[in-house]
Amino acid sequence: MSLKSADKLSHLFAPARSLSQEHQDIFAQLLVRREYQEGDLLFIAGSVSDVMHFIVRGTVEVFFETSAREVVPLARLGPGETLGEMGVIDDRSRTASARALVDVHTLTLCQQCYRDLAARGDPLAVWLLDVTANTLARRILAMEERVARAKADPSILKNLPLDPRANARRWWEWIGFGRTS
């Protein structure tokens, strides 16, 4: 279902506040609201990347399964964050899976809509890319900082389990890849 005209995009998705009202209104018309119950899968690894999600409410866990069928959580994402954007931008299949940890509401933008915006250099495409790039860049800088400190002082790692797979959550939180709790 599409957004109602009375729904303010900036109220549903905080990063949209940097857009002008005109752009918010245009963007809102491209979005489709989706609802997921606790435990529902939003997408699975290997599937086609047909939409990107903007999380409005709830918590989504991104994870992948190893060849030994161990579930490795990668991140927990909440309101104001995006999900699945790289597959849409880069036309690749999903590299991880995502499930709703509680009831979740998202807004979705289809791949064709993004491509149409990008093809003409629309400011909305620029904004979308900046939202995604901001998240990735901060994550990389956090990891670089942690690795630099750990190389300088290996005792920082002493409280982490030797085998990252033994307690993936703690490793991912330390690495700064995303909240896992």
Binding site: S18, V72, T95, G121, W127, D130, L157, R165
Partner: protein, 184 residues
């Protein structure tokens, strides 16, 4: 700038129409750096995104005692100098103030880079420059995503804490576009 540069930008950005090709060749500046020469200094304003086309570049950060901690190495055709710019977009509307380089980038051997000014990112038009702004952003995103995906594979396969830190440092620096997997 010549046909080699045009072909390089197509590999980075995908197909370009004649206006986009003309614009990127006008914007980009070719620079060659001698071994040991700094391309970016940690803490200084980073006004260009750099595309390494030849050579090898080392990334490092300052330790509290003033010595340098090596973060990793960059090989062709990788982008650098963009992470700090995207990271400081806290309001997503500030495209004017320069970002500060988070690491020092120095040539390990004679290296050639194409510098693309960050002012390209300030252009909100829908002409060739606007379309280029989208394509360069997409390339930067691919580069950052490639780094993170390499981290996922590495994390899942390592069991030794010391080895993990060293390998993570390698991954942070040793990346290039997916079709170029040259390792240092």
């Amino acid at each position: 700038m010549n046909s080699e540069a045009a072909a390089t930008f197509v590999r980075l950005l995908g197909p370009l129409d004649p206006d986009e090709t003309r614009e990127i060749l006008k914007l980009a500046v070719t620079r060659t750096y001698e071994p040991g020469q700094a391309i970016l200094w940690e803490g200084t304003a980073s006004r260009n995104l750099h595309l390494l086309v030849r050579g090898r570049v080392r990334l490092s950060k300052s330790r509290p005692d003033g010595s340098q901690e090596i973060l990793g190495f960059i090989t062709p055709l990788a982008l650098f100098g963009h992470v700090a710019w995207f990271a400081r977009l806290s309001s997503l509307s500030d495209t004017e103030s320069p970002a500060l380089a988070q690491a020092t980038a120095a040539a390990m051997e004679s290296s050639t880079c194409y510098g693309i000014p960050m002012t390209l990112f300030s252009d909100q038009g829908e002409g060739a420059t606007g379309r280029l702004a989208v394509k360069v952003r997409e390339a930067a995103l691919r580069c950052m995503n490639q780094q993170l995906r390499a981290m996922i594979s590495r994390i899942a396969s390592l069991t030794d804490a010391d080895e993990l830190v060293d390998r993570l440092a390698d991954d942070l620096g040793s990346w290039s576009l997916p079709e170029h997997q040259d390792k240092p």
